[in-house]
Assembly symmetry: C2
Homo-oligomer: 78 residues x 2
């Protein structure tokens, strides 16, 4: 069964392109990737916070958050 991988971001175009490349570089036979735009889906900010996300962009694989390239603080999205 594929493991869940969630890519949280806030829509910044430059970092979006670079970071999507990372999210879509994961092994498709092992991971089911979901992209979540927290600027548009504010109802999922709490979910991201509960997964240990403190800044975006962040990629959560299973329960492990990977914060990428010193992004914007999650608090700024509330």
């Amino acid at each position: 069964m594929a493991q869940k991988a969630t890519f949280y971001h806030a829509g910044c175009p430059v970092c979006l392109d670079a970071e999507r490349q990372l999210a879509f570089s994961l092994d498709p036979s092992r991971f089911e990737v979901e992209i979540v735009h927290l600027g548009e889906q504010k109802n999922r900010v709490l979910e991201a916070e509960q997964m240990g996300v403190t800044s975006v962009p962040a990629l959560v694989i299973g329960t492990q958050p990977y914060h990428i390239n010193f992004g914007a603080a999650l608090a700024d999205l509330k």
Copy 2:
């Protein structure tokens, strides 16, 4: 032809385990992953710097560096 992906780190055990999971989660049919321990291979610090790496752990896919989880500054490894 598989694209090169290089995972630079400095050997911290906790982050090592988490970040290797990210490096080895890449699609093996599209990426050739190399792990570089900059604490042991100091001769490759300049290379990492030239790839745009400013802190470790970092994953470089092609020419795009992804700094992960606010790691140690590359300068501390010189």
